[in-house]
Each structure stands twice: as C-alpha cells, then as structure tokens.
Amino acid sequence: MRLELRGITKRFGSLVANDDISLTVEPGQIHALLGENGAGKSTLMNVLYGLLQPDAGQILIDGEPVTFTSPARAIEAGIGMVHQHFMLVPVFTVAENVELGAESVGPLGMLRTGEAADAVREVSRKYGLEVDPDAVTEDLPVGIQQRVEIIKALTRDAQCLILDEPTAVLTPQETDELLAIVRQLRDSGKAIVLITHKLREVREAADVITVIRRGRVVAEAVSPQTPESELAGMMVGRDVSLRVDKEPADPGEPVIGVSNLSVFDSADRAIVDSVSFDVRAGEVLCVAGVQGNGQSELVEAIMGLRDRVSGDARVGGTSIVGRSTKRILGLGVGYVPEDREHDGLVGSFTIAQNLVLDSIDTAPWSRAGVIDYGRIRDHGVQMVEQFDVRAQSAAVFASTLSGGNKQKVVLAREMSRELRVLIAAQPTRGLDVGSIEFVHRRIIEARDAGVACLVVSSELDEVYALADRIMVMYAGRVAGIVEPDISRDDLGLLMAGATG
C-alpha cells in the first residue's frame, strides 16, 4: 500500500501543529519520522489515524483520496497504529486483547474464543513474533506487550503500520529485537512509519527519513547514512553537541552512604534488596538498569517517600531512614522525580509557584506564614531566564509547557537551593535533544561544584554521557558497580541479570 499525505495542515487555536506537511510512504519501506517532542509528529499521525480532522490537505491511498472520520475507518483502510502508551486491557489474555474491538461472534452473541488464539499463533509464526496467546497481558514484559499491539494491528490486516516512539520503554536488547521484527515486516511488503526522536535507531532501521520541526517538514528523503550530529542539527534547528564535555571527576568524601537498604512492598516482598553504595562529593553515580528493577523504589526510599524500609541511608552523616521528606530536602538534597508531571509539578499552578513548591515555608517566599507573591514572581522571571524555560512568562500554568520545559522548571527549583546532593531519576526521559543537552550540562555543572550526584537512567547513552561510576541494578539487587569504560555489551548483560 502506498500512502501519501499531501499538504496536511492542522491548527489548534493559534497554534499550527502541522503546517503543509507532505509525506509519501512506499510499501516495503521503513519511513522514519524524526522530530523533537512537540514538533507535530503525533498530531500528524493522529490525523492519519482518523483521530483528528485536518484543516487542509489530503490523504491518498494508492493514489485514491480518502477521509478518515474515525480510527475504525483508518483500520478498515489497512492502517495500523502502535501507540506509545499501550491500549491493552491488563487482565485480558493476549488473544482476548487481540480480538478486542473485532470479536468473532457466533450464534446468540457467543464469543468464539478459539479463533483469536489461532489468529495470534498464525501471525506469530508468519512474522517470527513469539507470543503465547493464552498468557495474561499484565504478566508479560513491556517488550512482549508491544508485540501484542503489533499482532493486533497485523490481524486486522494492516498494510501500513505506524509505530509511535516504540522504543521508549524497551531495554537495548528488546530494542534490537523490535527493529528486527520491523525489518521483517518491511521485507514482507508492509509500509512502516517509525516515529521517533532517537537518532541511533533511525540510522539503524530506516530506509528514508523525514525530519519535521515546529510543524513543518525541514528535510525529506534524508539518507540514513547521514551522520547523527547532522540529523540532530536538522531536528533542533541549530548545531548541538551530543557529547557532554566534562573533565574527569575529582571526587571528595562520601556524602550519600547507603548500607543494606531494603524496601518492601505491601506483600512484604523486597523490591530493593540489601543495596549498599556510596556517592562521593563531586562525582556522578549512575544507576543503570531496565525499568522496574527497584531503581525507582530505591530513590523514593532515600527521599523518605516510602515506608517499609530497612537498613541505613545517610546524607553527610545524618541518618535519613524514617525521616520526613521535608527534613531530607532540608539537608541539602535536590530531587528530580522520575515522573515530573505527577510528582514534580502542579499543572494548575504557575511556573513561579512551582518554583517554590518545596521552599514556600522559608524566607523570603513567606514570613510568619504569609506569602510574598511579589518576590515569588520576580524569582520566577529570573529563573525562567536563567534556565531558558520557553514560556510566555513565569505566570503561565505549568501544564501548558512542553516536557523539556517542565523538566527545566523542576531543575531550576531543585538547583536554586544550596545543594550537597542531587538525586535525579530518569532526568531526560521524553525530552528533545536540545533539552537533554541542557539537563546534562546542568548535572555536570553541579558535579563540578562538588555536589554528590545520583542519577537513575535506563538510557545507556545517558549513562555513558554522565557517569563517573555505574551501578547496575537487577531484580532489586546491585548487579555490579563498574567503571564507565565498560563495553555496551557487558553493561547490557549486567542489566539482563548476568552476575558481574
């Protein structure tokens, strides 16, 4: 199926999300759509998938103009979409999820349960996707859940498959497997659209690249042999450095000391299991690992956000287990939470208010419980400039900001205090290249100023860019603490549970 978008324009009020975008996807081709977050990639795909109606422009399939008023029509026409956030029912089996929305029904409306399982097996075999149709979805690893989404699209006979940021939640190994599957689908004649902002994958898998920036196509028919720095430049609109320039660390005394720290869940299972490590002043310790191996819980335990914690953790000699979050922040700990939308910001507050969220009790923001909003506003204006937050003013609601700018607000808040420790969990997840560069530079600056930095990341690129030492976590335990010159393969093995 040959899919063509011609002059697609989509506006939201005064914002032009897609401005006259044209794109052709050939069968048997992987077409990468590269752009920063907020560049308009997802809007374009939502138009194509019938979730949004374009204000201008046309969609053509094999030369015939079509209009999709709903996703059902798009699916009918042979377009399949794998969303960034999976649309699966956790308690259903794989087969049930696959047939959901297109159930095969017998007499009296009875489900024919066997057919879906057969369909899953058939598609699995045909494209080498190994999935057990009877497995319950929530028990499956994320990578397999994603395959279920792909199978779902394929059983609907999709000829054109759209993958929206498919590797955001995958381990390096899972990513490789996914790209292999995508290549196989291409070889069988499907047209593939790969939406991403990750340059490595694009260069590895794509046949042709279209780069969009601020809703416009800035480069089309780009060859995947184009160097990464050049692609990044197109995406961001200026030269970017992908490496973080940093001097070798000059670590001092240990500031964070964790020994035998365990965290238990409500069923008394150890999510973090006797973890011990130090972070010294002036170094970055990166906690690497596939998501869900206890890293998040470890950080939350250190921040006093968990109960059921045993063992010891100290900041500058003061024990912090059982202390309130407020006390811990008061010891000079800066905290960038993993989920910035949920834990880091109040969406309905202004930027300026968010910047004082954890220090509202202290002068000069308030005296005797009465807030000095004038000072908070001035501080907001100053921080917006200093941290390069792209917003009309410091008085706009945090919810209106893009991911990168939200993270800058969180960083600005945490780093405008006197710090001894900076704890950052997944600090660049979902951010665009420009913002990643900014965040990394700030972390290294903090390190150079003698702050002990603990960075949790499941992105290997980030780990290599920042770490002075790498701690790998697997199944709640420390799989090893290694130097950053470890090879990618060895690190991948540690992350997958091989003992180091």
Partner: protein
C-alpha cells in the same frame, strides 16, 4: 496573583494517563491518595476548571427550564390550553402572564418589595432583602465548610453532621452559662466552632492515618451526629424544663446576634460574620503558606508529598477549618433566627451547602455569591408561592438544575455553542492511555 487554580482549562490529567507500565509504582506510601483523586478527581476538574461564564449560563438555562415548569403548573395555562386551537393567543398570553408574574414575584421576594417602597413602608419594602440575607448567612458558611476541603481534594459531605454536633456546644454555652452581652455570643460561637472542628477533624484524622475515604466517613458521621443530637435533646441537662419534646431552653439574650433593624426584620449580625469568614478564608487560601499547601495538595497530592508537604496534616487542617465554618453556620440559626436548639436546627443546610460550594467553584467569593443567590431563591420562592401560587418546589428544582448543568459543563457549552479553548486537545489527551 489572584486565585491561581481558577479558570484553568488544562488541569493535570496524569491520573487518567497511567498506562500498563505504571503498575510498578503502585505501592507508594499513601495508596489512598490515588483512590481519592480518581473518585473525586473528575468532579474537582469539572468544578474548578469551569469558568464564570458557564456558571452564569447554567443559572440562565435553569431559569429557562424553570419557566417551562412554571407555565405547566399554572392553572390558567392549563385551562387556556384546553381551547388552544380556538384561541391560541390566550394560551400564549397565559404562559407569558404566569412566567413573568412568578419570576417577578421571585425577584421582588428576594430583593425588594416595590409596592411597599412606593407606599413608603420601608420596613416592608426591605423585608425581602432581610430574608435573603438571613437565609444566605448559614448557606454561605456551610458552603465554605464544603469548599475549603474541596480545594484540598476532599469531598466533605459531612457539613450536616458537623453542624448538628456544633449546635450542641454552641447551644449549651448559649443557654447554660451567663456572661456579659457580646462576650457570651463570642464564647458561644467559639464553642460551636470547636465542636464542629473536632467533629470534622475526626474525618481528616482517619483519612490521614488510615486512608479511610472521606465521603464514606462523613456520611456515616452525619447519622451519628444527628441521632446524638436527638439523644442530647432528651437529656435533663439539655432539654427545656417542663417539655417532653426534644427542644433546648431558649438562649440567653446575651448570646444572641444583634438585629440591625429591630424585630420587624429578621436580618442579624450573622451575615457580617459570614462575609468576614469569606474574606478571611480567601486571604488564607491565596496569601498564606497554609492556603498554598492546601491548593497544592488538592491539585496534585503526589507532587505535594514529593515537595515535602505533609499531605495528611493538610487534610486535617482543611477539615478543621471546615468544621469551624460548619459550627458558625449552625450558629446563624441557634444564636440568630431560632434562638433554641431543636432536632431540626440544621434543616437541610448541610446538603444545600454542597450545591453552594459547587456553584461557587470552591472559591470563597464564589461561595458568597452562590450563597446569596440560593438564599435569594429560597426567600423569593416563599414570596412567589404566597403571591402567585407557584409552588416553592420550583425553586428547589431550579437549584438542582443549576448544579446539574454545572456538573455537566459540556452540556451548557453545547447549548450556547461556546467553544472552550483547547477542549479538543484536552479530550484527546485524555483518550490516550485510558
């Protein structure tokens, strides 16, 4: 910086967008937070995110539907409809007559009696306004008792019970102790506030310590308070001597709110207390760290906890304030209009308060206007019933319709074809991952 959480079209909708991958973070320190936000989050979003225009239009729409009901309940309209095909204009004019006279009576009954004003009878002319203010005072205060917890993310259904409990303390001090005039009133009010705060504080404490959902605890505590009040009213130390029915002694004159215009008009100093409470709570919400924290907890409890705010303590604080306001609310009746404590002292005010708080969008000044509107509707409704025979139930229906439209803002928008900024993007964002 004015009230920051009002008029926000893009409230945080992270709750709705947790995908499968979110299941690993389920077991956090206070699991009930998540539950609360999912139960009341939708309503919170609808109410706080609503703009002034929509509230005003909800009132207009309710009045329009009320007009239909008035016409249908008018005997003249029914009679003329019997010969509609012979003389259709009769029906039309009967409808016009009934609706205009009913609404005019409602309006005059709520604000000012124009005929009496012409005759120069000032007392009778301002009787309606006096009634409106008298009825509004407890509604405003009870509305605050619902609105403040609402801002902290709690849905206080318990104003009714908190008022009933507070009536015991305020009433007892009012009739059993003798103190100088003025001081006695103040001590009685403080007693009512303390009793109310204690009773509401239980809810905050249970929520903070055990995660017990406040909707359930407040509803149950309502029963307990109402029956406890009934029991107290039958005890020797509370029941009026020589009476077998549940009624307290009459309060000492020293514990009563002064009336502004003598005994002809019921309006008393309580309305001043209500307005003062509105101003104080507005100031607290917008200018103090406590208010900042209440709003932070209400808008995003996870972020509040991450920022080192003790969420449980803020819940307790919000409930203590709410209980104190409920105490003041019942004092409007105990120390103002009724001068005694009876089993029916609370009336239905604690539940009407929910409506007032919703219409007032959880903001103190919003509650003031909503309380005045409902007080006016109540006072005017009585006058309307007396002068035109239109049943006062119409007013209750109007109130219910207003809230119905507020709970479904999309309906109002579609009726008046208002385009809400960013609605398309918002609803789409919600569609993802749910």
């Amino acid at each position: 910086m004015s009230d920051p959480t009002n008029n926000d079209p893009l409230m945080d909708d992270r709750e709705a967008s947790t995908g499968l991958s979110g299941s690993t973070t389920a077991d956090t320190l206070h699991p009930p937070t998540e539950l609360t936000s999912s139960v009341t989050g939708e309503l919170r979003r609808a109410v706080l995110g609503m703009n002034l225009l929509v509230s005003a239009l909800a009132v207009v729409l309710a009045l329009a539907i009320g007009a239909v009901l008035i016409a249908l309940s008018s005997p003249n309209v029914i009679e003329s409809a019997g010969y509609f095909f012979a003389r259709p204009l009769d029906t039309v004019s009967a409808i016009w007559q009934s609706v205009t006279s009913a609404y005019s009576a409602l309006f005059q009954g709520a604000l000012i009696n124009i005929d009496a004003l012409r005759e120069g009878d000032i007392s009778r002319a301002f009787y309606p306004l006096s009634e409106t203010l008298t009825v509004s005072a407890p509604l405003i205060l009870a509305g605050l008792a619902v609105a403040i917890p609402f801002r902290a993310g709690l849905f206080n259904i318990g104003a009714q019970g908190q008022m009933a409990f507070a009536a015991i303390g305020g009433g007892f001090v009012g009739f059993a102790i003798s103190l100088p005039a003025g001081v006695h009133l103040i001590v009685s009010l403080i007693a009512a506030m303390l009793f109310g705060a204690f009773y509401a504080g239980i809810v905050g404490f249970l929520k903070a310590r055990t995660g017990a959902h406040e909707v359930i605890t407040t509803i149950m505590l309502n029963y307990i308070a109402i029956y406890f009040l009934g029991w107290v009213l039958n005890q020797d130390w509370f029941q009026r001597e020589g009476r077998n029915d549940p009624i307290s002694p009459i309060l000492s004159d020293t514990a009563l709110f002064p009336r502004f215009f003598g005994d002809g008009l019921r309006v008393h100093a309580g309305i001043v207390v209500a307005v003062l409470a509105v101003v104080v709570l507005w100031w607290t919400l917008t200018k103090t760290t406590l208010g900042f924290k209440i709003q932070t907890v209400g808008a995003n409890a996870s972020a509040a906890r991450t920022a080192g705010i003790d969420v449980g303590r803020i819940w307790i604080a919000a409930m203590l304030i709410a209980g104190a306001m409920a105490g003041l609310a019942v004092s409007m009746n105990v120390n103002g209009t009724d001068k005694v404590v009876t089993a029916g002292i609370v009336g239905n005010i604690g539940f009407d308060a929910i409506t007032v708080a919703l219409l007032g969008r959880g903001s103190p000044f919003g509650v003031l206007w909503a309380g005045l509107l409902f007080g006016g509707l109540r006072a005017g409704g009585l006058a309307m019933q007396a002068s035109t025979g239109t049943p006062i139930d119409i007013v209750l229906v109007l109130q219910a319709l207003i809230v119905l439209f507020i709970a479904a803002p999309a309906l109002v928008r579609s009726v008046f074809r208002i385009r809400a900024g960013g609605t398309e993007a918002l609803s789409l964002a919600k569609g993802w991952g749910t």
